[in-house]
Each structure stands twice: as structure tokens, then as C-alpha cells.
């Protein structure tokens, strides 16, 4: 038998959606190949990206479609030979080396379902420290890190955990929000597919910190591959004593259940998610009480996003101060930005806060995929404002974004070229709200339906000025009178579209004044 060569082909939704499974089957059939199905490094524009380990260095080729495999094999790629699709050593790809990989430092690198690979790259060292240090020290480290929630609202994680830790009651829960409903976002998915054990470790640390022994992960049903991989990761962790009774011989026990969402955007809102986890329709709850005090089944509950929780093991392992050394002002640490829509080099870019939106879109993203001029960018999901090209120099910073009436949210960046019609996008924002509204309050339920009608009338040039004023009033009512951000923030994309792109709201017959 000849020498074995290790070849990596991602088992990750984007790569698989472009043929990675077929590529993997073909490569696995070669003699002397050890195939590893890794996560994606995040350069989705290069997927399926195949890597070959040559003398300890990983050489990348991509994008490799199933049709390219034959020519790859013919050029002796197992020795790292040249080929039109050869990208060179993975660790020299500029898109990747220019990042600040904290939460994603193992993603792409390792086999997501290998405990050995996980621990070889620092896995479980945060939990071990946490087990030794105890709840008070965990909370201190978290406070020092300045970590804020990555699900959208940016609430300081340490304060949330402390509230749950101090709440009275025997039973407490950790509920991980993996609903990832914002269009243009996929970081939760990439993390759970590429390094699921880090989420499990983060949840364990949260459990230790607040005194919870049970966790739930609420995963959107639109992610079937993520589900399969995460279920495999849970059983792997159980088998190796990282979940269940007396974890690694300690007196700490913790279990995690995986629940699926069912196609409702509003169930990403934390109280609707809790309702859904209890088996009910996802109606928003009134706050107070805070979920931290009365959450799942009425018990004190930590609700955190996947990326928030998966950032914690590193904070424990390397120290909160190290994390806080990234990023300006009150936007500490890193965020996994996601470049999506009409962008040449789409994918995941984890960077310290503070770089500008333009740097992300131009330096990493390479501009639009169509090659046409960029016209608008929506950051932070369907409730985020549309940003015109003139504001692209805004730094990625929670407060700086608030100043321009925008939000960073979960870090999704959706790029549109100059073929976009912003009245159509504004109409969609209202329509989406009408479809997804939980129906509990009138400004959202009725206002969104009215909003669609009013925009239609504006574009049709019926009582234009009066209807523009009406749209403004309607938006104000939704902002002021909605119970949650679904109705309360839908006006942001709408009003930003009107403000920055007024010509799109003129009627096509040009009769407007």
C-alpha cells in the first residue's frame, strides 16, 4: 500500500449546494486518499474548495465542481501540483489571512465530528478552566471581555448571565437561539456545521455560570444538514463524557435537546422562541417578566445566540482581556460578518469591530457579482435599514451604526446593484412583516398590510404627497406602538428607502412632480 494522503472536502450547506458531495464521492474512490469532511473556511465563492495535505501544508483548489475532478486527478493534485484552479496554501489565501478568527478559528480547519481534532486546537480548555474557576470567575471573565449578544440586540452577555445566576429557583435553562432568520446571515449555520462542539462547550460554560443543567437549541427547520451534523455532535459529546451526568468526572451535569423551528421568522424573537419551545404558537410575550427571570416553562433562562455562546470558550481559555483588545469603544471583540446577495466574493469574514462597511464590501467582497455599480446595502436583516453608497465609510460599530439609523444586528450584509428598485424593496419589507407578524398587536398586524397598500398607491401616483405623509405616519405608529421589533423596526428599511432613494417611488410614467 502506498502512502495515504489527506484530502478535505467540506460538508457544509453552501459547498454541498454547489456539488461538494459529488466531489467527495469521486475523491474518496481514489486509492490512498483519506477523506475528511471539514466545515467551510467561509470563502463561499471558492466552494467547493478541496484541500490536499502535502508535507503538512494544506494546498487549496477551488471552486471544484464535480466536472473538475477528473482534470484535478490528472494533474496529480495529490502532490499539490499546479492546476488552473489551484489557490495555493490555504493559510496564504488573503481572504482568510486578513481575518481575526476567534469564534471561527477551528471552522474549516478540523473535522467537526472529531473530539481529538477539537481538543488539539484548544477545544474544551475553556470549559476546563471554567470547571476549576467556578461561576463567579466565569462571570468576571465575561464582563471583562465586553461580549454583547450577537443575535441582534447587542445586549451585554455578562449582565444577562448574572441576572439568571442570581435568580432564585432550582431549575434554570440555557436556550440557544439558532433560528437565524435574517436573510443574508449564515454564521450560526457555518459554526454549527463546522465546529458544533464549540457551541456545546459554550452552553456548558453558561450552565456552569448560572446553575443550569439543561439546555435547548432552537434550530430553524430550513437547515437540514446543520441538524444532521449537530445531532451527530451531541451524541459524540455524550459518548465521550462531555454531556450528561458528571461531565468528565466533575459534579457538573448537563443535557442538551435539539428542537426545530417551523418556518416562522418571528420565532427568532426570544419570547416567541420560548413559546415555540413549549410547543405553542410563537406569539410574543409581554416583557416584563424578563426571560432571565421567568423564561422557559416560567424558569430563569439564558437566551443567547449561537455565536454569542460559541465565543465564550475562547474567552475563558484566552482571557476576557484578550477578547476586549479587539474592537473600538463599546463594540468589543470580533463579529462574523456575512457578505451576501450581489457580491463577487461572498462568504463569512470574522473581523474585529471597527473596520468600515466599505472595507468589507470592497476589500473582502470585491464589489458586486454583476460588476454593475453598487446601489444599496441592507445590514442586519429584514428589519435593518437600507444604506446608500454614500454611507459605506461607516465603521462596523454598534453605536456608529445607530448614529446613521442603521443596525449591525447579526452581521448580515446584503448587497444590491443598480438594478434594484427600492420601492419594491420597501414594499417587500411591509409584506414580509404582514406575512410573519405574530398578530398580537394592531400596529404590526394591520399597519404592515396598510403599508403595502400605501406604497402601491404612491408608486401608482395616487395622491402621492398625501400617501407619502400617510406612510410616514403609519411608520411612526408602528415604531411607537408595536410590542416587539418585528412591527417596531419594519419601518426602518421602508423609511430609509424613501429617504435615500426617493426617485424609485416616482411613478414609471414620469408624471410625478
Amino acid at each position: 500500500m502506498g502512502q495515504q494522503t489527506t484530502v478535505y472536502v467540506p460538508r457544509e450547506t453552501a459547498a454541498v449546494s454547489l456539488g461538494a458531495n459529488e466531489v467527495a464521492v469521486k475523491l474518496a474512490a481514489l486509492e490512498n486518499v483519506d477523506l475528511i469532511r471539514n466545515g467551510s473556511w467561509g470563502a463561499s465563492w471558492l466552494e467547493p474548495m478541496v484541500e490536499v495535505e502535502v508535507d503538512g501544508t494544506r494546498i487549496a483548489y477551488g471552486p471544484i465542481t464535480p466536472d473538475d475532478v477528473e482534470s484535478l486527478v490528472d494533474t496529480n493534485f495529490l502532490q499539490g501540483a499546479d492546476h488552473p484552479l489551484r489557490l495555493g496554501p490555504t493559510h496564504e489565501i488573503p481572504y482568510l489571512i486578513d481575518q481575526d478568527r476567534w469564534t471561527f478559528h477551528r471552522v474549516g480547519r478540523i473535522d467537526p465530528l472529531s473530539i481529538d481534532a477539537y481538543t488539539a486546537f484548544g477545544g474544551f480548555s475553556g470549559l476546563k478552566k471554567a470547571l476549576d474557576a467556578g461561576p463567579g470567575a466565569i462571570l468576571n471573565e465575561l464582563r471583562t471581555s465586553g461580549l454583547r449578544g450577537r443575535g441582534g440586540a447587542g445586549f451585554p452577555t455578562a449582565i444577562k448571565w448574572q441576572t439568571v445566576a442570581e435568580a432564585s429557583g432550582e431549575q434554570k435553562y440555557i436556550a440557544c437561539n439558532a433560528d437565524e432568520g435574517d436573510s443574508g446571515t449564515f454564521s450560526d449555520r457555518m459554526l454549527m456545521e463546522g465546529d458544533p462542539l464549540s457551541l456545546i462547550e459554550g452552553m456548558l460554560i453558561a450552565g456552569l455560570a448560572v446553575g443550569a443543567d439543561k439546555g435547548y437549541v432552537y434550530l430553524r427547520s430550513e437547515y437540514p444538514l446543520t441538524r444532521t451534523i449537530f445531532i451527530q455532535a451531541l451524541s459524540l459529546a455524550r459518548k465521550h463524557g462531555w454531556l450528561g451526568q458528571n461531565i468528565q468526572g466533575s459534579d457538573f451535569s448537563f443535557e442538551i435537546d435539539l428542537h426545530l423551528g417551523a418556518g416562522s421568522y418571528v420565532c427568532g424573537e426570544e419570547t416567541a422562541m420560548l413559546e415555540s419551545l413549549e410547543g405553542k404558537a410563537g406569539l410574543i410575550r409581554y416583557k416584563p417578566p424578563l426571560p432571565a427571570l421567568e423564561g422557559l416553562f416560567g424558569k430563569p433562562t439564558v437566551v443567547n445566540n449561537v455565536i454569542t455562546l460559541a465565543s465564550v470558550p475562547g474567552i475563558l481559555a484566552l482571557g476576557g482581556e484578550r477578547y476586549a483588545s479587539y474592537g473600538p469603544g463599546r463594540s468589543k471583540g470580533t463579529l462574523a460578518f456575512q457578505l451576501a446577495g450581489n457580491v463577487k466574493r461572498g462568504g463569512l469574514v470574522e473581523k474585529a469591530f471597527g473596520l468600515t462597511l466599505r472595507e468589507l464590501i470592497e476589500d473582502f467582497g470585491g464589489g458586486t457579482a454583476s460588476g454593475r455599480p453598487l446601489r444599496a446595502v441592507q445590514v442586519g436583516g429584514p428589519l435593518g435599514a437600507y444604506i446608500p453608497e454614500a454611507d459605506l465609510d461607516t465603521p462596523m460599530d454598534y453605536e456608529k451604526f445607530a448614529e446613521i439609523g442603521a443596525m449591525i444586528g447579526h452581521g448580515g450584509i446584503v448587497i444590491f446593484d443598480d438594478t434594484v428598485n427600492m420601492a419594491t424593496q420597501a414594499r417587500f419589507a411591509m409584506e414580509f412583516c404582514a406575512v410573519e407578524s405574530c398578530g398580537k398587536c394592531t400596529p404590526c398586524r394591520i399597519g404592515s398590510v396598510r403599508g403595502v397598500e400605501v406604497i402601491d398607491r404612491i408608486v401608482a401616483n395616487e395622491n402621492r404627497e398625501a400617501n407619502l405623509a400617510l406612510l410616514d405616519d403609519l411608520c411612526d405608529t408602528m415604531v411607537d406602538g408595536s410590542l416587539c421589533a418585528m412591527g417596531g423596526m419594519t419601518p426602518f428599511p421602508v423609511q430609509s428607502a424613501v429617504k435615500h432613494f426617493p426617485t424609485d417611488f416616482l411613478s414609471p410614467d414620469g408624471e410625478n412632480t
Binding site: 450547506t13 454547489l18 466552494e47 417551523a262 413549549e278 451576501a340
Partner: protein, 156 residues
């Protein structure tokens, strides 16, 4: 082929979730996985066994997009309608799909082969437009790729 409803198997499914009302959403998923939709019979039986009213179960079923209440086609095609895919032409793609299948969104072809549905985000936003056929996600689906996928993928 439609799978005939079977009360014993339905009971087993509910049992797999310890007959707990808080597992209702998960139970409904398991029913959809088996029967492709939630029938009136299913609602009745789930309500009985979980000790809930039929209205309760119906309320949950109607709240969630995933729980359709009519028999879909053998193959279900979902086209992402959210912003990242819009930026890459999903509206055109959807029109093309409707025209080539001869149906609107949320309809099934007359031969019972294909159901077309809207979906809001498959998390494949760097490779838009995204389409899901049964459980498989496809990226960068232009009209040509749509035609070749629907000619082969998912046909059972």
C-alpha cells in the same frame, strides 16, 4: 405516493415524544416527515392523546408555515424569496418556475408531481439564488440550472 394515515403509527410517533404537550411542534414535524401534511385525522388524534383541544392544535398548525394541511406533490420545490436572493434575481427565477411548471406558489401541478412553495432564507445567501428540492439545497440557481435540476433532482 400518499402514505395512508395509520392511527397506530401516529400513536407511536406521539409516544416517541413521551406524549408531552410541550413537544407539539416537534410532533407535528414528525407527522409532516411521515405524511407530508397535517390531516384533520392527525389533528384529532394529536389533540386527544396530548389532552389538548382540537382548537389548540389547530392554532399551532396554522401558525407555522411548515405545517401544510393539504397533500403536496411528490416533490416539493421551495424558492427563497428573501432579500439576498432577490438581489440575485430570485423574483425572475420564481416567475420562470411558475411559468415552466404552470402553477403559482403554494400550488401543486395537476399530475400531483410537484409543489412550489416560497421559503424565507436557506442560509445560502453567499450563493444566491437558493432553491430547496425536498431536503437538498442548491446554490446559484439561474433559470438554466433550475430547468436541469427539476428535470432530474428529487424525482422519486
Amino acid at each position: 405516493m400518499a402514505i395512508r394515515y395509520d392511527a397506530t403509527i401516529a400513536s407511536e410517533i406521539i409516544n416517541n415524544f413521551d406524549t408531552k404537550p410541550e413537544m407539539l411542534v416537534q410532533i407535528l414535524h414528525a407527522f409532516v416527515a411521515r405524511y407530508a401534511f397535517i390531516s384533520d385525522e392527525a389533528i384529532r388524534q394529536i389533540a386527544d392523546e396530548l389532552n389538548l383541544s382540537r382548537a389548540d392544535v389547530h392554532g399551532v398548525v396554522s401558525f407555522y408555515h411548515d405545517f401544510r394541511t393539504t397533500q403536496p406533490g411528490k416533490r416539493i420545490i421551495k424558492i427563497c424569496q428573501a432579500e439576498a436572493c432577490q438581489a440575485m434575481g430570485s423574483r425572475d427565477l420564481t416567475e420562470h418556475a411558475k411559468k415552466s411548471l404552470g402553477i403559482n406558489l403554494n400550488e401543486t401541478t395537476r399530475d400531483g408531481e410537484t409543489t412550489l412553495e416560497a421559503i424565507y432564507c436557506l442560509g445560502n445567501c453567499a450563493c444566491s439564488p437558493a432553491v430547496m428540492i425536498d431536503d437538498a439545497v442548491y446554490g446559484r440557481v439561474d433559470k438554466r440550472r433550475f430547468d436541469s435540476l427539476t428535470a432530474t433532482a428529487g424525482a422519486k
